[in-house]
Every structure is written in C-alpha cells, then in structure tokens.
Amino acid sequence: MGSKTSVLRLQVESSLAMRVASPFQFRGRRIVETVPTGVPRIDLQVGGFPRGSLTEIYGPTCSGRTSLLVSALASRTAASEVCALVDAHDAFDPHSAKAAGVKLERLLWVRCRNVDQALRVTDLLVQGGGFGLIALDLGDALPHMVRCIPMQVWFRFRRAVEHTPTIFLVLERETTVKTCASLILKLHAKKTRWSEAVKSTNEISRPHSLGCLLYGWKIRAEMIRSQAKREDRSDAGFGTEIRRNIRCSTADERGGQRQR
C-alpha cells in the first residue's frame, strides 16, 4: 500500500515537475492584511478589503456599489497609494469622486468601451504591479457579457495579485468571480431620504415641492463570502447610509453660474 502511494506520489510529482515545484508541500494559511474600506460599519463587519486578493462588490444600480468603490479609492489615495480604475463603460464621475475625497492626481483612470478592452487593460495593470488598489468597474456591463468571462481570467488575476499589496476590486451587477474572490459583498438599496415626505405614487399629481432636497439613501450590505473571517455567508446584513452632498449655489464668474 505504502509503495503504491509513493509510486503515485512520484508520478504526480514528475508530471507536475515543470509547473509546480513541490505539489505535496503543505502551504500554511496566508495571513491576509486588510485595509479600511472607508466605511466604518462595513469595516466592522468584514474587517476591510484584503490585500493581495480579489474582492467582489455586486448589486443593482443605485445600490451604493460606486459609492463604496469611490470611498475605497478615497481611503487609499489619502494613504498616499496609487490606484487604478478600469472603467469598462466610461461611467466614472470625477466630480463626485473629488467630493468624496479621492485624490485624483493619484488615480489612473482608464476609460474603456467594452468588457474585452477592460479585461485586457486590467491584465496589463495587474502585471505591471505597484498599485495599492486596482478597481475593475463592470457595473454597467450586461450580465450575460460578464458571465461569458472565462473563470481562468479571474484565476489569473487572483494569482497575479497574490503576495502583492494590491487590493483588486471588481464591481458588477451579478456575482461572477465566485470562488476566486476572497471577499464578496452584495449591496442593495433601501429607503431614499428626501427633505420632505413623499406622497404615495397613486395619489400624486405633484410628488414634491420645489424645496425638496435629496439627502441620501440607505443601503444594505451582505457578506456573501470572506476568507479572512472564514464565513461563507452572514445571515444578518448590515447597513450604512449614503449621504448626498447638498448643492450649493455659489457663482463663479469664469465658469458660469448656478441658481435656483
């Protein structure tokens, strides 16, 4: 029995000799370093974004995905790190990012036209290395297009960022990274907060007054998977609130003016 095992072991080792140095060597569990997401409540639950791993954030439109991403970018750029954003459908808004505290001069923004371009660009950035955070924004990509991405792409990305201080964030509508991700967060929107109470849509003839202001909206995050916390799913979600910067009516003679 023992000799059979050793023969088998030898065969496996010889067949993998060119690819894996020592296939039967025990690999100890890696201690994952995490960094703040920029949202204290999420940090409390998930422990932050893991370095050297893939993190997937998914949810429908208006679920706060972009706000969480921008918050992470603000956090990393404030820590003097250089970040990269691969924008698959050119949806990034520098104005709101600046307002959220992102140091734009530390952000490399790549505006792509489709998913294919975005993947090629991400591959180049990941191989280049040195970034504190690389975000791949597939938030506006059609789900069936994202589902067509072969699993090996995500494996390759995971392998490329492994043992590096890079945080790899993927933003999507539906989860596709699955087991390649160390952390998966599902977001969905809750109640929107306006300065005035909104009437029922059945009765409306005028759903607001002119003085109505958008204050923000609440989101609910759900941790689907976390390798750092060794939990596959947290039953209880956790919420946070997205705050809308109230518009100001300052005038600038050079650029134009705003008025109510």
């Binding site: 439109t61 991403l69 949806a91 952000l107 923004w109 792509c112 040195g130 506006d140 609130e241």
Partner: protein, 534 residues
C-alpha cells in the same frame, strides 16, 4: 598633473562601421570627392590585403571583387565624434576636443576614483568599445606627449615623467604633424625619428626652421607644455542612420531603431545621464518618386517628406529595450505614411532619478515600467482615454480634462498619508459615505411629462417610469460668450419603472429603480438623462 589622450585611428572608417557593424572587416573602402575624381580616403585591413591603397580612384577600386565601396559619411563622423567626447566626459569633466579623432583629458585626482593610470586607460578602452569605437590611449605628464604617444603607439601607453624623450624617440617625425615644407626639409636632412630631431641643437634648428622647428624639437623631447582648452559638455545626444534601401515595415525598422538606441543609451550611460525626452525623425521617401509623370513641364522637385515624433518620458531613462518598446508602441499608433530613408534619434539628457526608499511610505509603480504599461494601455483604448482626471474651473456639468498620469512627488507620510487617512476615518465616523454618481456618456435622450412645471413621468430607452420624488430644477448656465455655451435645468428624480423586467438596450444600459439625474437642455430644447446615483 597627468593627461590622457584618446586617438581613434582610421576614424572615418570606424564612424561608418559603428553605424553598420556588419561592414566590419568586409573590405570596406571609403571614397571622397566629386565624381569622376573620387578617390579612396580610408580602407580597412581586408581592403589592404586585397591590394587597395589610399589615393586610388573609384574606377581602380571597382576592379577588386569583394570591395565594398561607400562614400564618406560626414553625419556619421559627427555622431562618432560626439560619442568620443562622451567617452572623455565619462571619466573627466576637464577635456579638450583636439580633432575629430582625438581628445585629451585631465586626469588630476582621478586615481582615487578609477585606480591607477593603467586602470584608467583600460577603463577608457572599454568605454570606447562600448560606444562602437577602437582607439589608442596614452597617458603622460603633458598634453603634447600624450597626444603624440596616442597617435604613435597602439593600445594603452603610459609614459612616466622624465621618460618622455626616451619613449617618443622611436616614433617617426610625421607624428609631430609638421607642415609639408618642414617635413620635406627634415626628410632631406635624414631626420626620420623623434630621437633624431631631439638630438639636433635647438639654436641651429631655430635659425633654419624658425619657430616651427623649435616647437617640433620641444615636442620630440616631450617638453612641450600648454594649458588645456576645456570643452563644455553637451546635453543633447543624437544618433543617425541613412538607409540604402527605404524601410517600410515596422519589424525591420525596430531592429534599426534598437541599434541606434543601444548606441544612444551607451553614450548616456557613459555620462551617467538618462533621456528625459526622445525625438525620432524620419526622412521619408518622396510620395511621387515612382509615379508616372504626365507632363514633364509640370514636374517639380518635391522635398522628401518628414516625420517627427516627440516622446516625453516621466523620468530620465536609459534602458534601450524599454525605450524601443515605447517607440514601437508610438509608431504602431502613428505609422509614417511612406518608406523611411533616414532615421535620426535625438535625446535630451537629464540626471537620472535618485530615490531613497522610505519604510513608512506605500509602494508605488516603478515609473519606467508604468510608462510602458500606460503606452500599452493607450494602444488598447486609444489616446485621451488614459490618465488622471483633472477638474476644470467651471460649473459646466461633467466638465473635466484628462491629464498625463505621473506619480506624484512623495510628501511626508505624517503630512499626507496616515494623517489624512485618519481625517477620512473621522469624516465617516457618523457611518455615512458620500454619494457617487455614474455618468452616461453621451447623455441619453428622454421624454418627460410635466405637471405644473414638475416631472411626473419619464420615458427613455423604451422604458417608462413614474416619478415618486424629485428635486429641482437646478439651473446652470455659462460660457454665453462662447459658441459652446450651455443652459440646463437639472432634476434629481426617483423613478419606479413600470416594466420591472430588465430589458437590455442596444448599448448595454439597464434602467433600474433608482435616483437618476435628468436635465433639460434649453439650447437643444430636449430632455436627457445625465446619469444615476449609485
């Protein structure tokens, strides 16, 4: 005070071989002068063995099978001379440019840096070889002796103080560069070597040959002294190559560019500099060279086309492979529209980046590698789509410009890093995060139903929705004095779509219930969706 002289024998030929190494020892013959009076001015060893001599006419040389006849190439000679100067400056900043093929260096105080004089000589020979030249090096206590020894002896020659006359004695008088008249007189006298000249009485020599005789006598004895006329170092580096056959494909062009870049980087390395910017210029084949000329009378001399590309580098670089890749990517994006006849590469030099690592700062991409990565990304997504966004000083909605991405200069970690991170954490202590916005580029046309001036229903991209809450109008206008003025009324609308089933549109946009920003463009008289809060 020791001086070193570098002499490159057969300089014209070496300049050509430096640009085209395949011609080395191939029976190369350089001719100069206007045809039919072109005469041989330089030959290599193989040509000597064939029986070719300097002064032969082109017609004579053409009788020898295997001889490669080329004209003199002054541009290559100029570049080879610049390379020779760079070799000198790589050792000492105090250098005199004597001639196209000769330089003199002041070696005072260099022994502590480069070792003994012999080591300095070996170092100079090595640098010369790296720059594609072979030369002689002579080190002596005065300039003239070093110059004569470099011209007279091959390899490295070191002349100790006091032994000048003895060392130079065996050399022919012509190495002292006498005038033709004086050389003839000396020949008639039977003075063949420097030792013969040094033995002559100085007063008698002065009476017969004048001041020139005295100078030659002092040189022959190794006693001539003079001050060094220092040459200022140049900051611009140029390499050039003229092609026999025009090149059209990128692959052979890359090979040639690689060779030029290797030489350029070697010169930069010799001077401990890097290229801050690189300019590539091509002389293109005239477009109509082979075209059928219908009316000879209308034929005009068309100047050959020019192609020029300037490449600003984020940090001074001297890695020829990296520079070649960057150039290749640039040329792939903007290829020249005609075959290339001549290549010129110019680099503006700057001191290379010296950075001390900091344990308290996060790592960031290597600027050289990042430049290459960005160049590759630009190749994928196109120019103008990669960079760092910069907000413009205007209220025009969504206005920004893309800047070249450069890694910012590091500030103190206390001031910029940890301190600000803590500030951000404090900012979000209330558990809220600032809202972000996703932009639809270009804006999507929409139809809105209004009731007493307020939107109640929306329709865009085949979807209809009810407005449950709205904030607006936020009126913006500006640049009324320009053609691209704007005037918009913005609304933040919370929309519940009637069709809850996701319908994919042609451009991949999926409307979901949420808060969208609409605007009415008063100039275009239409409603548009700018984006969505997310």
């Amino acid at each position: 005070m020791p001086f070193a002289s570098i002499f490159v024998p057969n300089f014209w030929l070496q300049a050509v071989v430096r640009a085209e190494p395949a011609l080395r020892e191939r029976g190369l013959v350089l001719i100069d002068g206007n045809p039919p009076l072109s005469k041989v001015v330089a030959i290599d060893e193989a040509a000597v063995q064939m029986g070719i001599e300097i002064g032969m006419t082109k017609t004579d040389v053409e009788q020898f099978a295997g001889a490669k006849i080329l004209p003199r190439f002054p541009a290559q000679e100029k570049i080879a001379h610049a390379a020779l100067l760079d070799v000198g400056w790589s050792i000492s900043p105090r250098m005199e440019d004597i001639a196209q093929d000769t330089i003199v260096l002041d070696l005072s105080g260099l022994t502590s840096l480069f070792g003994a004089e012999k080591d300095i000589g070996a170092h100079l020979i090595q640098r010369l070889k790296a720059c594609g030249l072979d030369g002689n090096v002579a080190i002596a206590s005065n300039i003239e002796t070093a110059l004569i020894a470099a011209r007279g002896f091959a390899g490295i020659t070191i002349i100790s103080p006091g032994e000048e006359s003895h060392c130079l004695g065996g050399l022919a008088v012509r190495v002292l560069s006498p005038s033709n008249e004086t050389a003839e007189i000396l020949d008639r006298w039977g003075v063949a070597t420097c030792a013969d000249l040094a033995c002559l009485p100085i007063l008698d020599l002065s009476e017969r040959l004048g001041q020139e005789g005295v100078c030659l006598h002092a040189r022959a004895r190794g006693e001539s002294t003079r001050a060094l006329l220092i040459t200022e170092p140049a900051d611009s580096f140029e390499e050039e190559m003229e092609l026999d056959d025009a090149v059209e494909e990128l692959e052979p062009l890359s090979f040639l560019l690689g060779r030029l870049l290797d030489q350029l980087c070697e010169r930069l390395k010799a001077r401990s500099l890097g290229a801050a910017s690189l300019c590539v210029r091509f002389k293109l084949q005239p477009s109509f060279e082979n075209a059928v000329v219908i009316q000879e009378a209308f034929r005009t001399e068309k100047q050959p086309g020019r192609y020029e590309k300037q490449m600003q580098l984020p940090v001074p670089m001297r890695d020829s492979k990296m520079l070649l890749t960057l150039l290749r990517l640039r040329l792939q994006r903007h290829p020249p529209d005609a075959p290339i006849q001549k290549i010129t590469l110019t680099a503006e030099a700057a001191r290379p980046r010296v950075m001390e690592g900091n344990l308290f700062l996060p790592s960031f991409p290597d600027p050289e590698k990042l430049e290459l990565t960005i160049a590759r990304i630009v190749h994928v997504v196109g120019e103008g789509n990669v960079g760092s966004p910069s907000l413009t000083n205007t209220h025009r909605p969504g206005d920004f410009k893309m800047q070249r991405f450069l890694i910012p200069q590091e500030a103190s970690p206390i001031n910029s890093g940890c301190g600000r991170a803590r500030h951000r954490a404090d900012e979000h202590a209330d558990g809220t995060i600032p809202a972000s916005f996703r932009v639809f580029r270009p804006a999507i046309p929409a139809k809105l139903a209004l009731h007493t001036g307020c939107p109640t229903r929306v329709a865009f991209q085949g979807l209809r929705g009810e407005v449950s809450a709205a904030s607006g109008p936020w009126r913006t206008s500006g640049d009324w004095w320009q053609e691209d003025r704007w005037q918009q009324d913005e609304w933040d609308l919370e929309i519940h779509f009637q069709d809850t089933v996701e319908r994919s549109s042609s451009d991949g946009f999926h409307p979901n219930p949420g808060i969208y920003r609409f605007y009415y463009d008063s100039l275009r008289r239409g409603w548009f969706v700018r984006g969505v809060y997310d």
